[in-house]
Structure formats: structure tokens, C-alpha cells
């Protein structure tokens, strides 16, 4: 009877699980089945054993049928509900069942710097020809902790991501691979030191060149939180997981322009989940992941031991593949592994070959090159404005010539020149010492007999000419904002606090450059003002203007909105990339501006940024990223937008490593993905006064954390206070400060060094 009772209990669990996935008992015959099980439970001891067995078998068959039907037509939102189910497996289950033994690092359970991030040094076992091999790995992942409130649902705080980063570096020191498990609805969007966005950016920056194989698996991949431990050599995804730029509810609130406190309709959320293309198969198709790990019907749960065996095999296989690709015989060995996979189920793949996961220096180099190439090639299809094949060939040829030219100019000639200069300097220094010794007695005698002149200090003469802004003729003939063409006054937002008088608009946007003369508050100005006032006259040479934002996921209505934005701005993406000069110094600039879809970043903007990094690297020029405004990743492009975070960070890291200078200047509002990746990773970040910088806006923080944030939470001053930025610049001093930075900061490979 006990067995029957257990079977009945199991059936009840399965029914309630389907009801959870379907969000109610209306679907199929769930209500009827629930009644039936309730009836059996009520009269459990009235039935004979054989009767009970028959009835439960019938129930099991019916539930099995329903599960299969449900699985066949799983909607994206239903997958989200599966992922959020408390019955779903978590990282702890994986650690228990996939790895042989593990030691948790950086705290345990609630005695932890951040219980939502679990780091463990684990052993993974593989059997090869009846021999057992143990290999060490670093396991890093989010722990949702079903029922454990302190885990914060897998939302890592900045210090949780910092913990992950710390142990990534430990893995690098020890030369062991890292397995990442992503179970997060998103990062905890707080700005406490170092700030959610800053920490994610730091993680991405380090991970882009981490010298060990990395494999990540996504179960619940919520945007930036997922990327914090998501940049890897092989990206896998569980078949019932989701990987998205934003939660479907968040997307619905934005798309439906839902006000705070208002209820979001279920249909809108379903619709948004569909449009965001968040499922494993969608992501595989768009190339943001490499492979899908199949789960059992309606997703794996905590007791699906066969599934954990499969996960183990897949993780070993993925790590092997990453490692084998770096070997000299990689084609052959990778081919072997993949053939083996094709032949049989992944369950016993580890029995076939033993691959050592330790890499030699040349293999590490190859690993990094492959990782770079992998991200460079992501989402290349997702934007428009690509050149015709003949033009592309021409561009490639031009690039080769440019590479040769700049290579000879800066690597060959300059290196030799530098060597010659050093040599001459050394020789002249030596010879002067020698000469001094020879002539010293004579000069002493001469000094003695000749009358010494009085020493008078020469007063330094102030040089007002040259590069200084005073002598710069361009600033005398300034571009005046079109905002100034209005005859009225405006009130400074700080008028109550500082007693600022009303400002007459022609004065404010003309002479005062949009700055309150009393308190220094900066009113927003259009991006053209910066184009005209920041750079030397006629020095701007735009490139890649033809790369245009697309609609890769065929999002309803996006096409129209993009067209409207293009019509309004005369540009086809929110990023402008150009060569320009600042007080005679050649620089490459990537500018995100607000008028085009609020400065959001999608595949086109990412590509333009990456190409700007490549141009700057090629020409040995400093790279300026001026952020007029950015609203984050363009959510309509789904994970193709999210993937721009690691892609651009990778490009910028390579540029910095090549000895460049990357300066970021934030203006107006800069939030979310870009700040948490390719902008936030810069060593030199500055902000224009009165700008706001952060990871998530106040409403998202309120919704996610339940906390109110002070009105100045995202202010530049607070960003400076927590060390995110290095300084706050007055708009009128932007050009001068930038020039100073160009001359005093950055690597040794800049063309003017």
C-alpha cells in the first residue's frame, strides 16, 4: 500500500506541476484529474489494492499524455514558468550529482559574502577504458536556492560577482577549466560599491582574456546578470531554459508603456516572451549559444538523475572540445569527439577519450584567439548596410594595405627611430660626462679668473598661443545650439536649493553653453553641439555610416520605429563612429546619441563600436567613447543585443592590451548593458556635470529590490564617490580636459608617444 501511496503522491505532484506550467487547471483535463486524485485519496482505504493500482495506472497514463501534449506546444512563457518552478534543479543539485566532490569557496549557505553566487572547487570523474580519471574544475554559478530566501532568487549583488571574479583568477593561477552555471533572473540592480554595472564590466573585461578554458550553461539567463559569468569558450543552454535581454514582464511594461502600479495583462507578457525569442532553440538559431542540452519532458527536476549524468557528459565534452581546438591535432581529435557524439547518446562519451585540460602557452594563445574570433563573429547577420561583395573585397584589400602601412610606420620605422634616439641620447650623455671630466680643470680656472655674472631667475612667460583654448580660433566662432532660438526663460531645477534665477534661453544655450551660471547645473544639449565644439574644425571623418540597425528578430513594429528614428536623425543607428582631431591630436570616436532609439545598443551599434576599436588599434590612435545618452541594450533585438556586451568588451580589451588609450565620457543618462560592459570597463571614465550613470533606473530598482532610492542615487557625484568615474567635467572644459587626458594617459603604443 505504501508503494501505491507513493505513486499517487507522484501523480499529484505531476498534475500540480503541469498546472503550474499552464498557470491554472483549466488546460486539458487537469481539473478533472485533480478531482479524481482527491477522490482516490479520500477513499484510499476503501478500495482494494488491485482497484487502486488500476486507477493510478490510468491516472499515470492520462498525466503522461497531458505532459507530452504540453511539451509539444510549450510557449516561451511556459518555459519561463518551468525555469522559475521551485521543483527545477539548481546549482547545488548539479554540484551534488555531476561532480564527485566539491569544496565551496567564499562562504557557505547563508554565511556567505553573497549566497546567490556559489563558487566551488570540484572534481569531475571520467571513465576511460575502465580507468578512472579525476580532473579539477572551478564551478561558478548562481544558486536560486529553492525555498532559501537568503539566496535572493539567484540575483547576485555586486560583491557576489566580485567573488566569482576572484575565483576565476584562482582558476587561472591553477590552470584549471571553469564551468559556469547561469541561474539568474538578473543582477541585483544596486549601486553600492562597486555598483552592479561596474562589477559586471570588470568581470567581462577579465573573462575576455582569462587564460583557461571556460564553459557556461544557461538555465535562466537574465541579461547582464547572466553575462557577468557568461563570457566563455563554449556556451551551452538547457533545452527548457531561457536566455533573454529582459524579463518578459519588464519588456511588457516597456512595450505596453505600463505605468508603475498598473497591472500588466497576461497576453502582453506572453506576447513579449514570444517576441523576445528567449528559448534555447531561438538562441541556437541566432548563434548566441553553441549547443542545447536536452532535458526530459517539461524540464528536468531535482530528482532527474539520468539528466545529471547527461549534463556531466556534456560538460566534459564541451571542455574537451574547447581544449582540443587549441591542440595542433585539433581537427582530428575534435572530429573524433563529435563523431562519437553523433554515434551514440552523450551519456557515455567520457568513456572514450581522455583529454588533459592543462594548456601549454601556445595553446593558451590559440584559446584566446579562438575566443576572440568567436565573439567577433557573433550577430554579424543581425544588422543592415553591409557592403556588396565587390566592395567588401575592396575593403579587405584596403585593410591589408592599411595594416602594412601602419605596421611599417609605427612598428618598424618608429621602433628603429626610438632605438636610434635612445642610442644617441645614451651616447651624448656618456660623452658629456667624459668631456666634463676633461674640461673641468680648464673651466674651473676660467671661472676663477673671470667675473661671475649674477644669477637672475627668468620669469616664465605665459604662452597664450599654440594649443591652448584661448589661442584656438575655432572656439571664438562657436556653434550655437538650435535650442537657443526661443525667446523665453527657464527655471533651473536647483533654483529652490541654490536660489538660481530664471535663465533666458538664448543666453543659456548660447553664451552659457547650457550651464546654469549660478549653480553649474548642465541642461541637456543636442549631440551636434559636441560634434562642433569638441573637435577641431572640419576634422571629423565619419566611417561605417552605412551600417544600420536592423530587426533581426522580426519584432512587430520595430521596422516602423527604426524608420521614424532614421527620418528624425538622418542616421541609421544610434552610434556614430569617426576619426577626428582634438587640439591637433588624432583620435577615433564612438558616440552614442539619444535621438535614435534613446541611444540603445543593438547589433549594428556593437559592430560599429568593434570596428572603431579595430581602426583605433590599427592607426594607434586614442579611442574616445562619448555617451550622449544610452538607454541600454535594444530589447527588441533580444539576446543579439545582450551579446554585444561581451563582444564589444572583448574588442576594447584587445585595443587596450595593444597599448591604446580608451576614454569614456558619460553625459545626460547612461544606463544598463553598455555601462555594464564596454563603457564600464574603461580605466578612464569621466562624466559631464549633472549626468546620471547607473545600472538600472529607479523604477526597476523599486520593482526588483522593493527599496526606494534617493533622487540623487545615480548622480555623477555618487558615481565619483564610489569610484566608478574618475572625474566630473564641466561641458565648457570638455575639450581642454580631453586634450589633457590624451597627453597624459594611456599606453605606450599611441602614435604620438
Amino acid at each position: 500500500m505504501e508503494d501505491i501511496n507513493k505513486r499517487l503522491l507522484k501523480v499529484e505532484d505531476r498534475i500540480s506541476y503541469i498546472a503550474q506550467v499552464k498557470e491554472g487547471s483549466e488546460w486539458g483535463n487537469l481539473g478533472g484529474l485533480q478531482e479524481k486524485t482527491a477522490k482516490i485519496r479520500e477513499n484510499f482505504y476503501d478500495y482494494s489494492e488491485s482497484d487502486l493500482v488500476d486507477q493510478i495506472r490510468a491516472l499515470e497514463d492520462a498525466v503522461q499524455f497531458l505532459e507530452e501534449r504540453c511539451e509539444e506546444n510549450l510557449s516561451p512563457m511556459e518555459r519561463v514558468r518551468i525555469v522559475r518552478s521551485p521543483l527545477r534543479f539548481s546549482l547545488k543539485d548539479i554540484l551534488e550529482n555531476v561532480y564527485e566532490e566539491y569544496t565551496e569557496l567564499g562562504g557557505e549557505e547563508d554565511a556567505n559574502i553573497d549566497p546567490s553566487m556559489v563558487v566551488a572547487k570540484a572534481n569531475i570523474l571520467r571513465q576511460v577504458n575502465n580507468k578512472t580519471y579525476t580532473q579539477q574544475v572551478m564551478v561558478i554559478g548562481h544558486e536560486k536556492g529553492q525555498g532559501e530566501e537568503y539566496r535572493n532568487g539567484g540575483c547576485s549583488k555586486p560583491w557576489g560577482n566580485e567573488k566569482a571574479l576572484r575565483y576565476m583568477l584562482v582558476a587561472q593561477t591553477e590552470g584549471i577549466p571553469i564551468h559556469f552555471y547561469i541561474f539568474t533572473p538578473g543582477s541585483f540592480p544596486i549601486e553600492d560599491y562597486p555598483g552592479a554595472g561596474q562589477q559586471i564590466a570588470r568581470n567581462l573585461y577579465v573573462m575576455s582574456k582569462l587564460r583557461v578554458p571556460m564553459v557556461s550553461v544557461i538555465s535562466e539567463g537574465g541579461s547582464g546578470g547572466a553575462e557577468a559569468i557568461g563570457l566563455s569558450d563554449s556556451r551551452l543552454m538547457f533545452s527548457h531554459g531561457y536566455y533573454s535581454v529582459i524579463s518578459p514582464e519588464g519588456a511588457a511594461a516597456i512595450e505596453g508603456k505600463i505605468r508603475e502600479g498598473e497591472k500588466i495583462s497576461k497576453e502582453l507578457v506572453e506576447n513579449c516572451a514570444e517576441r523576445l525569442k528567449i528559448t534555447a532553440w531561438n538562441n541556437l538559431k541566432s548563434g548566441t549559444i553553441d549547443r542545447v542540452i536536452e532535458e526530459p519532458i517539461l524540464g528536468a527536476r531535482r530528482d532527474d538523475f539520468a539528466f545529471f549524468k547527461k549534463v556531466k557528459a556534456e560538460m566534459i565534452r564541451a571542455t574537451d572540445e574547447v581544449v582540443l581546438k587549441t591542440k595542433s591535432l585539433r581537427t582530428f581529435r575534435a572530429y573524433e569527439v563529435s563523431m562519437k557524439k553523433a554515434e551514440e547518446d552523450a551519456a557515455d562519451i567520457e568513456n572514450y577519450v581522455d583529454v588533459t585540460w592543462e594548456l601549454r602557452p601556445d595553446e593558451i594563445k590559440r584559446l584566446l584567439t579562438l575566443r576572440s574570433r568567436k565573439y567577433r563573429n557573433m550577430a554579424l547577420w543581425a544588422f543592415g548596410g553591409k557592403p556588396e561583395p565587390s566592395a567588401a573585397r575592396m575593403n579587405r584589400a584596403k585593410l591589408k594595405v592599411a595594416q602594412a602601412f601602419y605596421g611599417i610606420r609605427y612598428d618598424v620605422i618608429r621602433t628603429h627611430r626610438k632605438f636610434a634616439q635612445h642610442f644617441i641620447k645614451d651616447v651624448s650623455g656618456e660623452s658629456s660626462v667624459f668631456l666634463k671630466r676633461v674640461v673641468a680643470p680648464f673651466s674651473a680656472a676660467y671661472d676663477f679668473i673671470s667675473k661671475k655674472q649674477d644669477y637672475r631667475a627668468v620669469r616664465p612667460v605665459l604662452d597664450r598661443g599654440g594649443n591652448g583654448p584661448v589661442g584656438d580660433p575655432y572656439l571664438g566662432d562657436t556653434y550655437t545650439s538650435t535650442l537657443a532660438n526661443e525667446d523665453r526663460t527657464v527655471t533651473c531645477p536647483n533654483s529652490l536649493k541654490h536660489g538660481c534665477k530664471d535663465l533666458w534661453i538664448p543666453d543659456l544655450y548660447g553664451e552659457f553653453c547650457g550651464v546654469c551660471e549660478n549653480c553649474g547645473h548642465h541642461f541637456p544639449l543636442e549631440y551636434e553641439w559636441y560634434l562642433k565644439n569638441l573637435f577641431d574644425r572640419d576634422s571629423i571623418r565619419e566611417f561605417n555610416a552605412e551600417i544600420c540597425a536592423g530587426n533581426p528578430l522580426n519584432n512587430q513594429g520595430l521596422e516602423k520605429r527604426l524608420k521614424a528614428a532614421a527620418k528624425k536623425t538622418g542616421r541609421c543607428s544610434s552610434m556614430i563612429t569617426f576619426d577626428a582631431k582634438v587640439m591637433g591630436v588624432d583620435i577615433v570616436t564612438a558616440m552614442l546619441f539619444s535621438d535614435f532609439r534613446n541611444g540603445t545598443v543593438g547589433a549594428a551599434e556593437g559592430e560599429k563600436f568593434v570596428q572603431a576599436c579595430e581602426v583605433a588599434k590599427l592607426k594607434r590612435r586614442p579611442l574616445l567613447s562619448y555617451v550622449h545618452t544610452t538607454g541600454g541594450i535594444r530589447i527588441q533585438e533580444g539576446t543579439l543585443g545582450v551579446i554585444q556586451m561581451p563582444k564589444c568588451t572583448m574588442a576594447v580589451r584587445e585595443y587596450i592590451d595593444a597599448g591604446g588609450l580608451y576614454i569614456v565620457v558619460y553625459d545626460n543618462n547612461s544606463y544598463a548593458g553598455p555601462v555594464a560592459s564596454f563603457l564600464g570597463c574603461s580605466h578612464y571614465q569621466f562624466a559631464i556635470r549633472s549626468s546620471r550613470i547607473g545600472f538600472a533606473g529607479p523604477r526597476v530598482i523599486r520593482d526588483t529590490t522593493g527599496q526606494e532610492v534617493p533622487p540623487d542615487y545615480h548622480s555623477a557625484r555618487n558615481a565619483l564617490r564610489r569610484g566608478h568615474i574618475q572625474g566630473i567635467w564641466d561641458r565648457r572644459e570638455f575639450r581642454r580636459n580631453l586634450h589633457k587626458c590624451l597627453l597624459t594617459m594611456g599606453g605606450s603604443k599611441l602614435y604620438y608617444r
Binding site: D487, R488, T489, T491, D502, E708, P711
Partner: protein, 216 residues
Amino acid sequence: MQHDDIDFDEIISKYKADPYDYVDIHSVHTGRLRFQVKVGSKVEGVSGEWRHIPGTTLYILNRERNSKPVHSPTNGEVSFIRDDLEGQFVEADEKIITIKHPLTKREIIDGILREVLYPFVAPERAKYFFSMDIQSRIDKYGQREVFIKPGDELFTMSLMKRETPVYYDGEPGIIHSNYFKPGESVDQGQPLVGICPKATLPLIQKIITRVKAEWE
């Protein structure tokens, strides 16, 4: 201030008869005026944890095509309005609205205490701490058991890392109310403590209890 000088009944009856504060609102500058409230309208004051949510808009003043909304500084009811100025050009600092603000229990108590206690004000904008002796007496016996007289070293004023003793120079009495927090800057002229003659204390306590019990 002597016990006999204070007519508590009068103070209490004054608050009882009219438990309101009348806040006059003046035009902040010249401009064309548009009222957003009427007589009898309920208005809210500034609110929010950081006092960042503005109060009800009282009027909009338009000068040089700049419409400036002016918000209510306090809650209450509009008791007076210069209706005749609606849509008219007004001069700066003209009284245009009066808000009848119902006093809270705390405000009434504060008001009474302000009348009966001797306030000791900050001589400079600085950080203040009780002197070592006074602090140890407060820790030992409680604030209201500490009797001070003129010439006692009451505070240590911390300004620009220099510490200067501040001596009490008012009526002798006990420290009844503490208006400052140690380590936080206090503006010049702001009260630091309210001193109460020892004999008056029971009566003040009685009054506070009475206010607390009688006012809603």
C-alpha cells in the same frame, strides 16, 4: 524663566481655540498668475523619504513664457485666496494664498516648549558634542537629571578639526530637549538644547501628557 511667569492655561487654551497654523503663500516673483486650487481645497506638503516629492501645485506663475509651478510647503486647507488676481499680473512677494495647517500633536508640544524652555543656540556653524563631564552625567543619570548653571562647560564645538569649549550662559535648569545629533553640523543660531528650570519640569511634563491625551 520662572514658573510663575508661565500661564499654561492660556497657552493650552490658545492652542485649543485654534489648533492651526496659518501659512501665507506669497508670489515668488512677478508674472501672470493662474491658481490651481480654490478656497477649501485640501493640499499636501512636501513628502517622501528624502523630501523629494513636491507638494500640491498651488499656482502657476508665468514670466517670460516660463510657466513655473509653485507647490505647497505644508499640508492643510486653502483658507484664503486672492481670486481677483486670477489671470492677472502680480508683483513679487504679494500674499496670494493662506493655508490653514492643522497642527499635529508634536508641533503643538514643540510650540509650547519653544515658549517655555530656554533655548541654547549654536554660536557657529559647527559640530557639537556634550562636554565630557556633561556627557558622563547624562550617561549616568539621564538627560533630564542633569542640572546646569551659567558658566558650566556645556558643549565641545568641533570646527575645522579644532575643539573649543562652549560655556552655558542662560538660566539654570535641566536639559529638557535635545535638538542636535552629535557629529552633525548645526547652523549658526539653531537651538542645540532646551533648558528648563527644575521647578517647572513637573508642570511641563503634565502639559505634555495633557496635550498627548487630548489632541488627536
